[in-house]
Homo-oligomer: 445 residues x 2
């Protein structure tokens, strides 16, 4: 199915962000608005787009191109009459669609969670369907929003000035060609907004609503709304299933770094590599064995752990998550784990010359590497991600996850108690490994 994106407006209310460029190119955390719309739709399965440009259209077309760099196909339509209502921009695209074809209509200034579009695409009825949000209280800048009155899933009225309404227009439609016919009719009557065309469809009993069920969406019209969306996107990044150290400590720092790095050209894979290098540096400093080197080593280990969250956050924020990215991240983690524990062991031995240190370090390494091995085993067996909080009983409190382990390692360095931490890791990681050895039976019968 194709997506039709309206990107013709000048966005005067977004000044100064729209100085010398159209609204679609306003940057938002490393991507322009139109890029966010394209990539969000791509996540939900839309791979072909028709984009209608208007104000400063040639700059827009030059920047976005034919879609190759986003892994999609883009056709362009220019609307020189972009100063008229937005219904005209939609109407100009009609030659790019067949009369039987259904398509998704999106606005370049309406951000959305790909799940909203997935919900919409599940609808099999052949009417025109508008995404609406029934949680009216949570809508930003309600005064300016387009209101909708819905009965059942039928749209009865639409308009900015509605007195009686129970939903808000999210700016995304699943359409049939009849939308163009309705627009033709309303434009002929000098009513040239998209809402005018939609009203024609309402009169013909052809408009339906699809509630986004609390899914995120936002209309960006003013610097204030831009700021609001920025905050919401950042807030949505943390994964509630991460370990306690990740959630309570690392995220506070990593979100700031992510916010900063998202507007650079650094890719998530490059950030993974950076985290790897920082981890290696920590390992080398631990290997020196003495204070204050181990202090620096501990801090670097923790910093590597924080950066280990940033790569994924940037990928999610810029809508470029990939399985390969997850994969190389986890391989880097294995090497960092291995070398940091080696560095700690070497350093302690270097100072103490006690051979037992090697045995302890070794056991810690075997235990730590089993932790990730178990998680993969679980994923193979069930297709899902292992949640320590759910399955490890009270052992979830023994700090054996990777985030907790690196936090302990940091403490070990800062307090100059590296051997103690090595012993703790050797013990807890293997206790957990042995527990899972038996507990996994329930997933595997």
């Amino acid at each position: 199915m194709k997506g039709l994106v309206i990107a013709a407006g000048d966005g005067t209310r977004l000044h100064p962000y729209t100085k010398k460029k159209c609204k679609a190119l306003v940057p938002l955390l490393g991507l322009s608005l139109v890029e966010r719309v394209i990539l969000s739709a791509k996540e939900a399965g839309i791979k072909e787009f028709v984009i209608v440009s208007g104000y400063e259209g040639s700059l827009l077309k030059e920047r976005i191109g034919d879609g190759t760099s986003y892994g999609v196909k883009i056709e362009w339509v220019h609307n020189p009459d972009w100063e008229e209502g937005n219904g005209v921009s939609v109407f100009k695209a009609r030659d790019h669609f067949e009369s039987e074809e259904r398509f998704v209509l999106m606005m370049c200034d309406h951000m959305f969670d790909p799940d909203n579009l997935r919900l919409l695409l599940q609808r099999k009825d052949k009417k025109n369907i508008l995404c609406v949000d029934k949680k009216i209280d949570e809508v930003f800048d309600l005064d300016d929003a387009t209101k909708v009155l819905v009965e059942g899933d039928k749209i009865v009225e639409i308009g900015k000035g509605l007195k009686k309404f129970n939903a808000i227009d999210c700016g995304m439609f699943l359409c049939s060609y009849s939308l163009f016919e309705s627009l033709e009719k309303s434009i002929r009557e000098n009513k040239d907004s998209l809402s005018d065309g939609v009203e024609v469809l309402i009169d013909k009993n052809e408009m339906r609503a699809c509630d986004v069920k609390g899914g995120f969406w936002a209309d960006i019209d003013t610097p204030k709304s831009l700021k609001f969306v920025k905050m919401r996107l950042i807030q949505s990044l943390p994964n509630p299933r991460e370990g306690i150290i990740s959630r309570k400590i690392n995220r506070k720092v990593s979100l700031q770094i992510t916010k900063y790095l998202s507007s650079t050209s650094l890719t998530p894979n490059q950030i993974s590599f950076l985290s790897f290098l920082v981890g290696l540096a920590a390992a080398v400093l631990f290997g020196l064995g003495r204070f204050p080197w181990v202090l620096y080593a501990g801090l670097l280990a923790q910093f590597s752990s924080i950066l280990d969250g940033v790569d994924g956050e940037v990928a999610r924020l810029k809508l470029i998550k990939s399985n390969y990215g997850d994969f190389i991240d986890s391989i880097f983690d294995r090497y960092v784990d291995g070398f940091i524990i080696l560095g700690m062991t070497f350093g302690v031995y270097f100072v103490s010359h006690n051979l037992w240190v090697w045995i302890i370090g070794w056991i810690a390494l075997v235990g730590a590497s089993l932790s990730s091995f178990y998680k993969e085993k679980y994923k193979v067996a069930t297709g899902k991600t292992y949640i320590s909080q759910k399955y490890d009983g009270w052992l979830r409190y023994i700090f054996a996850g990777r985030d907790s382990r690196l936090f302990l390692i940091m403490l070990g360095g800062v307090l100059n108690q590296v051997l103690v931490v090595l012993c703790i890791i050797a013990l807890t990681s293997n206790v957990l490994a042995i527990y899972r050895f038996f507990s996994f039976r329930r997933f595997l019968d």
Copy 2:
């Protein structure tokens, strides 16, 4: 769907195996014939059985019970007239089936690959369907087999004495209740074999054939055929996708051990544990550092590697494969790998007092543990088993699989060159890890 198993015969031709017990209880590699039939059918999805006993029926019922120990449900029918034709035994079970019910009819002396039954169960036509083998040349003891003439998938004639035939009866049917009605008719006419009942169905155009497409099956009637099946089952155990050392060396020994252990009560999980203990013993001996201890250590490491194949072979041979069994096997492997490399490192250091040995050993351990981690990652991404021969390019020849690694370790011990082998493992396992780091992109985009 229920399975009906005919286990009434005395099996005189299998004397002395059938002395004082019925044919169904003749042992074959750790299981009785009827147990093999039950567990093979269970693998294909049949969980409820009706078994018709006859000769020495109470002993049979006592041994097999209600099926709990096999994870299935068994109902019993006794046929005191077991000396009559086998059609009578089938007919006696009729009260255990509804008139609309379809069921699988099996013979306790006909062994089969579960895939044959899976093929049969895929058939949706409502006729009676007989499994047949069209590869006539490969049938053991053709003279004694029941021949079938098939046209299209329709059975035209059946009988031991057929002159013109193009398939052999494999002794397994997908039946409807009409089989009982046909048997009633033929028995009334004093024709009391199952083939007689089948002939009635042929006359009514209700018999179809399902080719097993080369799948293994065998009718066990004589000590000779018992020996043949034993050999075939053992031969079918090796997995052609295993590493070269497993296939060319370990299997030759492990199959002998498997053959022996299958008739003991040792479970596959206990064998995994044994392999683990042998591996630990190898690690301790390597830790002593000097010849001839490292020689013994190397031999034990190789023996552990061989035993590591036996657990799976016994499980497959006794039809008790389980995901949990595979899982604990792989966890034991991780510990054995970790401790053997630790033992080697410790031993070399103990003799040489060169700190670098620890670094080399450590790198070898990280590389070795990544090898299995990659395989799990691949399984998560694709749902399939990673085949080094297929995906690792020429690196498949660098001996980095677990079987090859333990073989190298054995050589290292036997030739008293433990450090050299440690260096090789450190190098090859990490070269492979880095290769896969990039090559996995194709599985993960």
